[in-house]
Amino acid sequence: MDCFIEKSKGISEIMEKKFEFLEHTADIKFRAFGKNTDEVFENSALALFNILYNKKIKEKKNYKVKVNGKDFESLLYNFLEEFLVLFDSKNFLPGRIKNLKLNEKEFEIEAEVVGDDIKNYNADVHIKAITYHNMFVKKDKGRWVSQVVVDV
């Protein structure tokens, strides 16, 4: 279930991974990657969206989200949780993040999320919650990596 995007960098073309899934007995664990914090947060959200529904979602509805944290992990927890709340309370199936703005000093994120009403799709995964278990957001060998376990 790895997701690759192709990016051309000068003369060489490399495959850059947005996120990957790891083993966990009962829940779902993923890692997301990015060249900066904006990208790792966006790709973490995309990993979450991919668990909810991994095919194309029409862009018919959009919501704005704005959350704070006190460190990168709590910011990520709060950011991802917004989509679960929209999912349960508004029946909103998220597809893509737009205009993400991350303030690293204030640990604040603003973003738009576009997607559609769940009833138009045969979605079959419900995520109960984001967890702090084994969670991290860190810079590793020049790139940003996040790790999240979600309760399903």
């Binding site: 709340v85 995964v125 109960k128 702090y132 399903v152």
Partner: protein
Amino acid sequence: MVEIKKIEENLWKIEKQKKMQVPILIIASKKILEGIKRDDTIKQAINMAYLPGVLKNIVVLPDAHQGYGACIGGVAAYDLEKGVISPGEIGYDINCGVGLLTTNISKEEFMPKREKILHNLKRTIPSGVGRGGKRYSKETIKKVLVDGAKWAIDNGYGTKEDLERIEENGRMSGANPEDVSERAIARGLPQLGTLGAGNHFIDIMVIDEIYDKDTAKVFGLEKGKIGIMIHCGSRGLGHQVASDYLKLTEDKYGTKDLPDRELVYAPINSNIGQKYLSAMRCSANFAFCNRQMIMHEIRKILKEDFPDKKSSLVYDVCHNIAKIEEHMIDNKKKNVLVVRKGATRSFGPGRKELSEVYRKVGQPVLIPGSMSTNSFVLVGKKEAETISFSSSAHGAGRAHSRSWTHKTLNQKQVKDILAKKNIILEGSFKGTMEESELSYKDVEEVIKVTEKANLSKKVAKLKPIAVMIG
């Protein structure tokens, strides 16, 4: 790797070390223990042993597996004065639980109607993702948070007799809806009376074997008759309550010295501790009401084809919950806070918490198997008080991850098992694959250990014939 010492058959111990407040008792056969050792179950049980005010020992039950924070199939008891409460330890699906309905419909009478009834269940009871039920008002939800299954009965979803057959009589007191956030209520609004997805299910089964005739009679179980089991919880409302209080706890008490950030804790006696307990009870009440409403729908569907037949609730039990109960600590009776994470209470005879219908014999302990394996009804035993704070396993226990399932199994394999066992199914492809018996531990082995370790005693075996998964 820590040393796991064998104490006796099916009992293992990890001694207190480093920052552990108490040792760990593992109830498992050698085979089950080998499985438990393969993931992070033991590490997570050790993390549970770090929390202040935890008493006697952490208990790891035979269906234990890795969770997120506490292990699933874990039990801990806390001193009410010095102890703490951790919203992440109890987890997000507060009062996820199981209810069992029994009927006087025989298998022979039922089989010709089997497909129609399963289809009607699927059509009528909202399940899966984003398929909400009726939308209730906030005011109604708040009433549900206080009254639990009693609200359902008062509004025509069942009878008074049902309440005597639900843990806590379907209503935990000390539940103040003011302690539940608007956000949690917003998530719960469209979800009352809905099953959910994942491992939540409705199983139609035949009572295949009776092991203890007298107790089976008290529980209303008769060989050859149809029983229906449901598994679901407090839905988005409970998930949000857990998350809200995890954050509030962290803001107030911080994460210093925690073995796992998910296990942030507050003193039980603190304002946050008490508010969380109240909100947790509200969520538990939502779940009791939710299961009762689903049970009522099931009964209505059965009535269409079997107007003269009867059905009664055997019991309804919680899996993820914290409760104040009296237990023996250092040879003294003491009120403690028992946290069951993926565990079923298994009170033996005489407990004052049990309603009169079951006080003499002990409570029914419902242990579902996986999608296509047998489920069991047991009866709680007095001995469990001293071994496991009166707790038993809550299911077969997952053995393999969802990604393992998709990598290793194919749809034909899973469908062939169902066909061979003559089980019909309503469910998504993904759910069918992930809930296959091949992803779970051997429930028969879990039951064998549960019985041999004196946690509870087998009463009946139920064999699935039709399954609806969320």
